[in-house]
């Protein structure tokens, strides 16, 4: 990739240096703008205008009804939000979801992908299909199935645990268990997707490297450490970045169906909170302010992730 960048950047840079006068002659050409227009318009309408609008609304008090006035309140929305214990709680929970998802969105799939690589043809397909199944179940259906499995009175899992003498656990009703439970359900749904990506990346590794390593007498473990993992690093970093940036969002459906943020706010995250402010309590200002706080936080994280990717990803030239 570095080579490609160099190739693209090289001649272009040379051109700008040598033919500055050509460019000024072409300045009034409208066709490049026309080519760009559809994409720019879509980007504006769906991303940047709403973003600016949300930023503006975060300084107003408004109940989303066109007939009621939008009252300018300055920074009050932010002050109130930051003073609310539930906001801090939601931010912590967001962090918990993000970190808690890592094992299931990156580590386990990585191992599964590598180990299933060596399985024979049909067995590999069946095995991977089984892992991929959770991915194609609709989130709400998955949530309801888990609710049944974890039900305190007649849930299959609860009854099994009781049979083993572990007693009944209120997976969704005890604040101590609810957050790990929801993180697990979100992660369980992701394992398939990540495994698929890792398997694809793994299959793309040039087999001659591995042949060569084998001839040199490298053990299986050495091959994984020195060949597979470095060559998988772009995918690992991509999935890590996705987990950091979207992990907490993926849990939304399960929070909404299973706990509504409870018990005692233990499962609320920032995305659920801003949805609740916006559409349950009809407060555009609070919701936008919460959205802006989340946006700022994730923008910093995204920048950090980009930097890490550039720094550590290893590409096979």
């Amino acid at each position: 990739m570095t080579d490609i960048q160099a190739e693209v950047a090289g001649p272009a840079a040379a051109k700008t240096a040598s033919t500055r006068s050509d460019i000024s002659r072409e300045r009034f050409s409208i066709s490049p703008l026309l080519y760009l227009a559809p994409a720019v318009v879509l980007l504006m309408v769906w991303t940047y205008i709403p973003l600016a609008e949300a930023f503006r609304l975060s300084f107003y008090q408004w109940n989303i009804l066109p007939t009621s006035p939008q009252r300018f309140v300055g920074l009050t929305n932010y002050q109130r939000l930051l003073a609310l214990p539930e906001m801090r709680n939601a931010l912590w929970n967001t962090l918990y979801y993000t970190i808690g998802l890592f094992p299931m969105s990156v580590i386990i799939p990585l191992f599964v992908a590598i180990w299933t690589q060596d399985l024979g043809g049909r067995a590999r397909t069946i095995y991977r299909a089984m892992i991929f199944v959770p991915m194609i179940i609709a989130p709400v259906v998955a949530a309801i199935l888990w609710r049944w499995l974890l039900n305190e009175d007649q849930g299959l899992i609860t009854l099994t645990l009781e049979g083993l003498g572990l007693g009944r656990i209120g997976f969704l009703t005890d604040p101590a268990y609810a957050l790990p439970t929801l993180t697990w359900i979100t992660g369980w749904k992701l394992i398939g997707f990540s495994t698929l990506l890792f398997s694809a990346a793994n299959a793309g590794i040039n087999p001659s490297y591995i042949e060569a390593a084998r001839i040199d007498g490298a053990s299986r473990w050495r091959i994984i450490c020195d060949i597979r993992l470095p060559l998988l690093s772009p995918t690992i970093l991509l999935l890590s970045m996705m987990t950091v940036l979207f992990g907490a969002q993926w849990s939304f459906a399960y929070i909404n169906v299973l706990t509504n943020g409870g018990p005692l706010k233990s499962t609320t995250n920032i995305f659920y909170l801003l949805w609740e402010y916006g559409f349950q309590t009809l407060s555009a200002g609070w919701s936008s302010a919460a959205g802006m706080i989340a946006f700022a936080g994730f923008a910093v994280l995204a920048a950090l992730c980009m930097w890490l990717t550039k720094r550590f990803a290893f590409y096979d030239n």
């Binding site: 007939t67 007649q154 018990p263 402010y277 349950q280």
Partner: protein, 431 residues
Amino acid sequence: MLRRTTLKFTAAIAAVSLLPSGAFAQMPASVDKPVTISFYNYNLASASAGAEATKELIAGFEKKFPNIKIETVAVPSNEIMSRVQADIVAGKQPDVAQLVFRDLIYIASDLGANALEDMVDATELKDQFAGMIPQGLELGKVDGKTYGLAYTFSTPILFYNADLFKQAGLDPDKPPRTWDEVNADGKAIKEKTGKNGFFPGAYGPTDGTFVYQSIVMSNGGKVRDGNKLTFADKDAADAVKMLRNMVDSGAHAKIDPASASDTFAAGNMGMFLYTSALLSSVKKSAAGKFDLRLAPMPSFGDKPTAPTNSGSALFVFSRDPEKQRASYELLKYLTSKEAYTIITSKIGYLPLRLDIVDDPNYLGPWVKENPMFRANLKQLDHLTANIAFPGPNYRQVEKMMMDSVREAVFGSGDPVEALKAAQEQGQDLMP
């Protein structure tokens, strides 16, 4: 900014369409031309008996008024307000909507529902109201005007599982009458049978505030006094403390509040305080499994109970006189003797017309068959209105209150402190 201009434009259009109905022509006396009206209804969105009965009612209406076609929109009760609001914003004004009482003030002041007194001729309205219980009519009034016509409404009632009572060595013919007895019985059920003792439908996402408010008001408390929040004041806080003590003693279950009715229906709970609207569906699941009985809601010692209304009223939003007439005919039909016979016997809501209870042509035979329903009817004479919150931030205030109640009942900290903190924060948002 494209979006802002669009918003302003929508706002202007909506503002014009939300002018007081007095500015428009009086609605005609009858519907002569075919007209279609929309009806937003939450019973239709439920999986229980409510949907079937409502379909039957609408079919009956369309048969009686062949000119009027009803276009139904089914939305779950906790989402219906946002949906109505979103549709008004999008320029799709509903004609009639079934909405809950907690949003009453907002619907009247911000959402532009028509007051029946402005829309309907005074004598005609008087005829329609004749025979309805005055406490019921009072429920939908704001500043003396009827914005919502009480429709399907109910009071909290104690469902109990007589089999569990027997197993716990309690007398199933003597349901608890006071909260102390609920505590004792709940503890006995929990200890002897291992099943859940008691749970009120007061904390779940679709429960609103009516069960909680009726417990508070039975202890002489109130959630607000004018624009001052009072849910952390002594009487109100004591009621919540009572619930917390029951949680600590084990009598009050700790289950998922969203599925409390399922837990009861599955036979895993001794006592369940909730709207009688659930009667039909609970009866269906209990049939052949356990002995379901009903009792009036428990009291604090000798204090009288204050059963508040759950449920909904019908609101008319139409601007067009023709549609207003059609909507009003629908309102009239849905609150008629025939309609309440279906509503009460098939769903379990209270009849707004008490003269049909013993009338053999209407509810008479059904009440005879279901004597347990009388416990619910008896509560009607001290029906206390559920208190709605005012102001543009009413939903947030209500949410803060309910969050603090959950924290007080199930949390580990001091219950009164939790309520106090929320009251202080909420007071900031009151008008």
